[in-house]
């Protein structure tokens, strides 16, 4: 038994020494670190994407925000900020987003649900001039001022000069009774 123990000791020592000669401690740490980070990231990716899609107000989308037929633009009348240095959610640099806005609903073809869209205008620079888009679904005459897109919505901003329009998802439409 003692002989066997000695043999194991010797074998183990030999293996350990060989391993130590072949590899550096940093190398092992690097490999181990890579394994840890990699193992963490691989299962997270699809899970994180699924979680983001289920969050309210963050619909799964399709289409090009720089194109007039993008689903959120169903009631828009103006220049698309996506073509003017901003995006469908943000104003181009040097302009200010109007806090006063007109609001409607659009159907998202990706999930078939209706979302509440806020068409905040970006103000403070002359008209962008690119990607004029006029779809006007649900637009009402001026006697229904909160539902008309024909007025200048640069209200509550330091300048009333219209530049372009955004289309921000602010909620999900209530479809019950």
């Amino acid at each position: 038994m003692k002989l066997l123990d000695g043999l194991f000791d010797k074998l183990f020592e030999q293996q350990t020494r060989q391993l130590a000669q072949r590899s550096s401690r940093r190398g092992i740490l690097k490999g181990l670190g890579g394994l840890l980070v990699g193992a963490g990231a691989i299962p997270l990716l699809p899970v994180a994407r699924a979680a983001a899609a289920e969050a309210p107000g963050q619909p799964v989308e399709e289409g090009d925000p720089a194109s007039c037929d993008y689903w959120r633009y169903c009631a828009i009348d103006g220049f698309l900020c996506s073509c003017c240095g901003g995006s469908e959610n943000t104003c181009p640099p040097g302009t200010e987003m109007s806090p006063v806005t007109w609001i409607g609903t659009c159907r998202n073809p990706a999930d078939g649900r209706n979302y509440v869209i806020s068409y905040n205008d970006c103000c403070g620079k002359s008209s962008c001039g690119a990607c004029l888009c006029q779809r006007d679904e649900g637009d009402r005459p001026a006697y229904r001022p909160d539902k008309t897109n024909d007025i200048n919505w640069c209200l509550g901003t330091s300048s009333a000069t219209y530049h372009c329009s955004t289309a921000i998802v602010v909620g999900v439409a209530f479809e019950g009774k």
Partner: protein, 141 residues
């Protein structure tokens, strides 16, 4: 927030009298009919009156309570009486904040239907006078 929750609990328990308070429906109707000017959190903008931490002040007097229904944004909105009552109750729950009062009798669709028959025209002057009256009513307490 605590007062808001108390009011909410009260609204839910008195729903048989005041009509149902469906939070999702109320918020959607707020978004579609009010939020464009009053902002998502009721903070308003420049000349658009602030409701956040303020709307509860109007509930101190009967005239103030009626005012919230008679302002053009309420009275001539596209919402029907039940929807308008629900949105007003939701606004009080959601935005009154530090201005919330201990007791709030929720608006009913009948009350709203009656009051919106007399919409206000000179809102700015009327509001200024109303707030002055409310301030003196608070001083007397």
């Amino acid at each position: 927030m605590k007062t808001g929750l108390t009011i909410l609990a009260m609204l839910l328990t008195t729903s048989a009298v005041a009509g149902e308070l469906n939070l999702q429906r109320a918020q959607f109707n707020y978004q579609m009919s009010c939020q464009g000017c009053h902002a998502p959190d009721g903070s308003g903008a420049n000349s658009v009156p602030r409701m956040l931490d303020h709307v509860g002040n109007f509930l101190v007097t009967q005239t103030g309570r009626e005012y919230l229904v008679r302002v053009p944004g309420s009275a001539v909105s596209a919402l029907d009486d039940a929807e308008l009552a629900e949105v007003l109750n939701w606004i009080v729950v959601e935005f009154a904040g530090s201005s919330a009062k201990e007791s709030f009798e929720p608006y009913s669709s009948q009350e709203v239907g009656r009051l919106r028959q007399q919409p206000l025209n000179e809102v700015v002057q009327y509001r200024a006078q109303l707030l002055a009256d409310i301030a003196s009513a608070n001083m007397r307490e």
